[in-house]
Amino acid sequence: MELPENPDKDNNGYESAEKIILRWDSTVSEEAREKMIFETDRHEADLYLQAVDEIQRSLSNASISNNTNAAAAAAADDQSKVNSTIQIAMARLEDEFRNILMTHSSALETDSLFDPSSSSFSTPSHHELEEDETVSNEDSSQNDLLHLELKHCASSDSSTYRSTSSIREVDLMPVEAVCDLQAIATRMISSGYLRECTQVYGSVRKSAIGLSFRKLGIEKLSIGDIQRLEWEALESKIRRWIRATKVCVRILFASEKKLCEQIFECVGTDIDDACFMETVKGPAIQLFNFAEAISISRRSPEKLFKILDLHDALMDLLPDIEAVFDSKSSDSIRVQAAEILSRLAEAARGILSEFESAILREPSRVPVPGGTIHPLTRYVMNYISLISDYKQTLIELIMSKPSTGSRYSGDQSTPDMEFAELEGKTPLALHLIWIIVVLQFNLEGKSKHYRDASLAHLFIMNVHYIVQKVKGSPELREMIGDDYLRKLTGKFRQAATSYQRALGALRERFKTFNAMLEEVHRTQATWLIPDTQLREELRISISEKLIPAYRSFLGRFRSHIESGKHPENYIKYSVEDLETVVLDFFEGYPPSHQHLRRRSQ
């Protein structure tokens, strides 16, 4: 390249620069293939960069206005030669760039993220409350319709990760590497090789993110996979996803963004935005696809609380997502996050509705032994307690009153509920009250299978349980309100009264039976049937009718009597006692000999 001023000096400069570039042309030289400049020697690297600068300078200094055609042609020739040299330099720089990136593109160091004193990554600490602390042994075997357990995981899962509660950028590679990358990027971009630069950058960093994802336990699952998995398995995946996503958004992606900014610092924000998006767009979408798949899974009651956890976590992350993905080209990611949030909210609402219907429909007719709480009651009240734990989120999400079906249609399959008297209550509170109403309605339906005392007993035990549960939780009590609580208590009292009545009647029956038995024994024992065989046959005939009937009678009602005062006044005879009594019949005992021998004594 002929320059009028200082021809020799610049020519020399250009020539030696060209030499350096050509020396490192790996398409030509074996030696050049074997070494990486930036790994070898700082000095070499500096020389190389200076050489590149020199060539670039000469290109921009090129004089393009020449008077003769020959001069113009010559200039074009020279320019072409320079361009050729530049291309060789750029190809080399691209490889160096790629090499430096790859050397420093391993997975995120997760150790530095953890507080060593808390639980390790693989066994996260969370609380799991079993269904009910006072579960009695009898219940656990009961009723496989309601074998669902409700686990409440404390949403303070962030205790496992130190400070993933806000954005925290870490250094993804050493400072020297960043400097080198920056130096190379600047030259590539100023030579018009921006695209190659961003291409390489994006592809290597994306792979690095893939490694971090694997380390964080982020899986690639299809929507089909997720539909097929058992909910319990999904729960642990959701937990893991929440923890991993906090790290991804607040640390990983934020740090990548910072890295882009550093490397492409001098060239403007559009470029580092583009590089950043090139790097993280795919992984971010993959990440969110999981939450999206959960949000569209089929609704059923046990899913509510994990879905709320997911919703809350995403809600919490939203400002950070918006901060990290703040450019125009990342619109789709922000939009997807918002869409998922909205679907999760919808799912929560749907599940609550589904739950309410399920209570209404719950058809089990297994009679519960007296004194125990029906599993349905237990399940529902536990569920309600958990709902009140999630009160803050649910109050925001639940916006409409419960659908009570046709209220005045006289439809016997749903209870009525007067909403007028429940003015000023939040929709969530209305739902809770509705749930209790529906539960009672279902219990009433069940109790119709029981007769007399058992009926009333079932009912009051369960209503009592409900009342206690509500009273025991300040949030529940506050939401359901004392008015309704009074109503419930009133019901309890009514039921208690009718139970007392039924119990009284039952005691009368026992007393009557006892008296009759004693009378019959007194009489029959004095009769004599001399013929042994006939005597035997008669006794057997009486036993066959009497014993099973008494056994069944006792079986049904003994627990009621025994739960009251002085049961011994009413239940005097065991089944064995009765058998003994019958043995006395037709023996012809003298009147003085009679007293009922009670084996049970």
Binding site: N83, K206, S207, S222, I223, N289
Partner: protein
């Protein structure tokens, strides 16, 4: 099959499905009318997009623009189908046999379609990647004066481009390409560094064992035209919806690269003796033939722009291979024309890929919404038949 024939055959039969008999007066007629209208609309809409005028080459068959039209047609049909299915109907009507089997199967196919949408969205990223490589080549080839530097630069980009297109779309096999586009061979024995092929970044973001061809195959199972008394009415509607959905998903998979398309079936259960399916059958044959031709060579999809890009790319590689400054005049001129074409393809991609991605997303949303709505109705049905006491 006319309305009156069906009606009289119903009248003549003692059907166990009393509902159908009861609903026959008025509403069943209406149903048959709706269905006929729907079939006609489906047929018309597909026929419209089949015929593209020749002077707009970029609305050509299987171009980005054509696919967008196809998806619009799909959305239109889907909306109508859903309306006919759900409007004015209660849960009881859509839970009776054979709908109690057909509708859950439909919903299951919808879920499979959702996964396909996600895979396609991922695949469009590969298309974008190719676009960017092509743009590098165009940039280089448009330089004036055009010298060996630019030629080498262009060649490098084009070789990457062709390799990306011939990506074996099996999961994890991204390293089979012989030219990994390093300027030189990598040193051996680099065991402590993870293997970063140039295309690792394009590793699919979908589930590991997911296969597009298997997914389509699974979707086609049990898609059979309803027979007998079911031949009119909702089962027929559902059959049509299934068909359209499977067809559209199949076209997407054939056109746009996505994971594991080996053995993609070229048979779909489109009934041949029904007049409204002519257009679908025609499209199926046309695309199927192309697919079979190209499948063995390994290719990145039948998308018109990609095919064009590949052709131009190959040709320009040849040009750059033999180029020596200043180059032969007519070769240079020929190349310039091709570069201009390539630039236009890139432009089309630049304009069309974004909207296409958004459209796929919209299809996704619509399918989710419809599925949720149908599930809601079905759940309510279970509610009302509560066996209390």
């Amino acid at each position: 099959m006319t309305g009156t024939d069906t009606q009289s055959s119903f009248l003549g039969r003692i059907s166990i499905r009393r509902n159908q008999v009861n609903a026959m007066d008025g509403s069943h007629e209406q149903e048959i009318e709706d269905l006929d209208l729907f079939q006609k609309q489906v047929s018309d809409r597909f026929a419209e997009i089949l015929s593209a005028p020749d002077d707009t080459p970029f609305d050509a068959f299987l171009s980005i623009s054509w696919i967008r039209k196809l998806l619009d047609v799909f959305l239109g049909c889907e909306a109508e189908c859903k309306a006919i299915l759900l409007m004015g109907r209660d849960a009881a009507q859509i839970s009776k046999p054979p709908l109690d089997r057909l509708i859950p199967e439909l919903l299951d196919r919808v879920v499979k379609a959702l996964d396909i949408c996600n895979a396609i969205a991922n695949g469009l990223e590969l298309v974008r990647h190719c676009q960017k490589l092509a743009e590098i080549a165009v940039l280089a080839l448009e330089q004036k004066p055009f010298g060996e530097g630019q030629s080498k630069r262009a060649k490098k980009a084009l070789v990457s481009l062709i390799s990306a297109m011939h990506l074996d779309d099996k999961e994890g096999s991204a390293h089979k390409t012989t030219d990994r586009n390093w300027s030189f061979g990598r040193r051996g024995g680099n065991k402590d560094r993870p293997l970063f092929g140039h295309y690792k970044s394009l590793s699919w973001q979908v589930a590991r064992n997911w296969s597009a061809s298997k997914q389509i195959h699974a979707m086609t199972m049990n898609v059979v035209p309803p027979r007998g008394p079911e031949a009119s009415g909702l089962p027929s509607l559902i059959f049509i919806m299934n068909l359209i959905m499977v067809f559209v998903m199949w076209v997407l998979i054939a056109a746009i690269p996505c994971q594991e398309r080996n053995g993609l079936t070229t048979h779909l259960p489109i009934p041949k003796n029904v007049n409204w399916t002519h257009t679908l059958t025609g499209l199926l044959e046309k695309i199927g033939d192309e697919w079979k031709k190209k499948e063995k060579k390994g290719m990145a999809g039948l998308l018109f722009e990609m095919q064009k890009m590949e052709k131009l790319g190959q040709s320009l590689i040849d040009f750059t291979d033999s180029f020596q400054y200043p180059g032969e005049k007519d070769k240079v001129e020929e190349a310039a024309k091709q570069v201009a074409e390539l630039a236009e393809v890139c432009q089309r991609m630049e304009e069309g890929l974004g909207p296409l991605q958004m459209l796929i997303r919209e299809v996704f949303h619509r399918l989710v919404r419809s599925r949720t709505e149908i599930l809601d109705v079905l759940d309510q049905g279970a509610k009302s038949s509560a066996p209390l006491v």
